[in-house]
């Protein structure tokens, strides 16, 4: 008995809320469809803005996305302190290897050639072929293909995404037209690999030895490296190595900058801090603009209903209930916009081949649950903020005065 007395009121309230919702859902829904064109435009506007926001959030996420593999944490990149375009002497390789904590060093060069057409952009590296799959042990390749790659001087391997994108088959011969190198790379595709870090699957690698040979043949320089990839013995050694390497070459003609591979990728995708700030600023402007536009629309929608509010109140609806109904109406419109924007982003980015669409610049955009949640919360906040003040005003106005406004 006692238990029931405690429990009943609660479930009674819940039932009441439920039946309240059911009773007025029709009224709210029909009200949102009152001015169909305006509602559709509001929903589309909100949807587009939230789509943009979710996209920005996802881009930011992808920029910072870490390679989850433990192997990548053990890798460091040493490059010229001035910029990646400045090359390093090949002699550094042996000197770096001597540094305590360094397990091995691999030479690497950015090729940046054009495959048929400039739009077919993808990352191309010339690496020590015998070391590639030791350094990138998270990459999975058929052992026979790996062996073929290591054996043939002009062999190349590429991620499965590139194979798919260009319809390549094993054994195909391709030409990468040199851009800052005065020669073309004539390569034979001997293997394809997969990687847990999906952007890696859009990378092509060929022999550093082949590149160096061409450099020697055509340029007045020799034995240069674009950068070095260092494999550390342990995680603890990583910071020490970075300091030691840069210390060693500080006063040389080619000072270095050594950082973890992750940090290196971030510098590659421009200054992340600035990007973040930039994206944050755009997002703020988008949110603020859509809030203003929505607020203007909601204010208009609610002002037009002054008479209706007065009628409902005359029928015995309390100001609180009318306020709730108006807010529910604005919220459903806003949430619909939210669903459209967030759902649209999720759907688009998971079905469209971005790599194809963007010519390789964007490998993938994985919309995060937090991004979707952020979008929906913003939709709710915008809906509430945009309608609360006009709804409050409309409900607070005395009935007699509201009627005079229209009558």
């Amino acid at each position: 008995m006692g238990l029931f007395e405690i429990r009943n009121p609660k479930s009674a309230i819940r039932n009441q809320l439920y039946s309240l919702f059911m009773k007025f859902a029709g009224l709210v829904l029909k009200s949102t469809l009152r001015n169909k064109r305006r509602t559709i435009l509001t929903v589309l506007g909100l949807g587009a803005s939230l789509f943009l926001l979710v996209t920005l959030h996802t881009v930011l996420y992808e920029l910072q996305a870490t390679t989850i593999t433990a192997e990548s944490d053990l890798r460091l990149i040493t490059r010229h302190a001035v910029s990646i375009a400045n090359w390093l002497p090949l002699a550094y390789k042996e000197q770096i290897r001597q540094i305590p904590g360094v397990k091995d060093v691999m030479t690497s060069h950015w090729f940046g050639g054009i495959y048929i057409d400039e739009r077919n952009f993808f990352a191309q590296f010339a690496d020590d072929a015998d070391k590639l799959f030791k350094f990138y042990s998270e990459w999975r390749i058929d052992p026979a293909q790996r062996e073929a790659f290591e054996r043939e001087r002009t062999a190349a391997v590429a991620g499965v995404r590139l194979f798919k994108r260009f319809g390549w088959k094993i054994g195909d011969r391709i030409t990468l037209k040199g851009t800052f190198f005065p020669f073309d790379a004539e390569l034979k595709l001997v293997g394809s690999f997969t990687s847990p870090n999906l952007p890696d699957e859009a990378v092509l690698v060929f022999h550093y030895d082949y590149l160096n040979e061409m450099i020697v043949k055509t340029m007045r320089t020799r034995d240069v490296a674009g950068f070095y990839v260092i494999q550390a013995e342990s995680l603890q050694a990583v910071p020490r190595i970075a300091q030691a390497v840069d210390g060693k070459f500080r006063n040389s003609t080619a000072p270095t900058k050594t950082e973890t591979e992750k940090a290196f990728q971030l510098t590659f995708s421009s200054m992340l801090g600035n990007v973040k700030l930039f994206i944050g600023a755009i997002s703020a402007v988008v949110v603020f603009t859509i809030l203003l536009v929505t607020a203007a629309t909601m204010a208009m929608t609610i002002r037009e209903r002054t008479a209706e509010v007065a009628i409902l109140k005359t029928l015995g609806y309390t100001s609180g209930l009318v306020f709730t109904l108006l807010l529910a109406e604005a919220l459903s419109i806003a949430m619909l916009g939210g669903l459209l924007g967030c759902g649209g982003a999720k759907l688009l980015y998971s079905t469209v081949d971005l790599q194809q669409l963007t010519g390789g610049w964007i490998i993938q955009l994985r919309v995060q649950p937090e991004g979707l949640a952020l979008g929906m919360v913003l939709a709710a906040v915008i809906g509430t903020a945009a309608s609360a003040v006009p709804a409050f005003r409309a409900c607070r106005m005395p009935i007699a005065e509201a009627l005079r406004h229209v009558g």
Binding site: K23, F24, G26, L27, K30, S31, L33, R34, A307, E308, I311, L312, K313, T314, L315, G316, Y317, T318, S319, G320, P398, I399, A400, L403, V406, G407
Partner: protein, 229 residues
């Protein structure tokens, strides 16, 4: 004479806006008994709507005492008044009565949504009310699909669907042609005669007076003896 449902005792209503002062009701006194059909007539601006609004508790007097159905609306809070209106008062305006996005049925159902009545019971009552005003076949029509007279009849159905004691109407025939006006007045008369509703009807339509049991004339905020006769 039946018990007084409405007691208006030296009621005043002064509207102040900036330095302007409008004395809409100037110490007016009257009583309406249960079962009365009272027509309130008078020229525009004489204070008819003001009086009706005070009785319905949608405005408050600035002086005097007003008792309606044994309570003093002036002493009640907004939410108490809302609930009280829902239970005891049915109100019909001259225009803008119906919510345009709702069907006739849904408009009539609005007051019942505030009650604990189950859906089936609400439906039964709405249908009964619509039948009484002769619009049972228009239940699914939207206001824009109805004529002015039909709209007013839907508004009347909504006013009495919750079975209130008192029906108030502010110039309900003001926008209607003669035929529709007659239909509307006939409905009020029937509600008064057959269901025993007390009706207080504001009008400046002389025809309305024929249906009413009593006619009062208001001019410049005070009751006057019948001016034209």
């Amino acid at each position: 004479m039946n018990k007084a449902l409405i007691e208006v005792d030296h009621v005043e209503k002064v509207f102040r806006r900036d330095s302007n002062e409008v004395r809409a009701l100037d110490g007016i006194s009257l009583e309406v008994a249960e079962g009365d059909f009272l027509a309130l007539m008078g020229p525009s601006g004489s204070g008819k709507s003001t009086l009706l609004n005070l009785v319905a508790g949608i405005d408050r007097p600035t002086g005097g005492r007003l008792r309606v159905l044994d309570v003093e609306p002036a002493r009640m809070s907004e939410s108490q008044l809302a609930r009280w209106r829902n239970e005891h008062i049915g109100f019909v305006f001259q225009t803008f009565n119906l919510i345009p996005v709702l069907t006739a049925f849904e408009n009539v159902e609005l007051p019942l949504l505030l009650t604990r009545l189950a859906r089936a019971e609400r439906q039964r009552r709405v249908q009964t009310a619509l039948r009484l005003v002769g619009l049972e076949d228009r239940a699914e029509h939207y206001p824009r699909q109805l004529s002015g007279g039909e709209e007013q009849r839907v508004a009347i159905a909504r006013a009495f669907v919750a079975d209130p004691t008192l029906l108030l109407a502010d110039e309900p025939t003001g926008d209607l042609d003669a035929h529709s006006a007659e239909e509307v007045l006939e409905i009020f008369a029937r509600l008064n005669r057959e269901l025993g509703k007390t009706v207080l009807l504001v009008t400046h339509d002389a025809r309305a007076a024929r249906h009413a049991g009593r006619v009062l004339h208001l001019d410049k905020g005070v009751l006057v003896d019948q001016p034209e006769k």
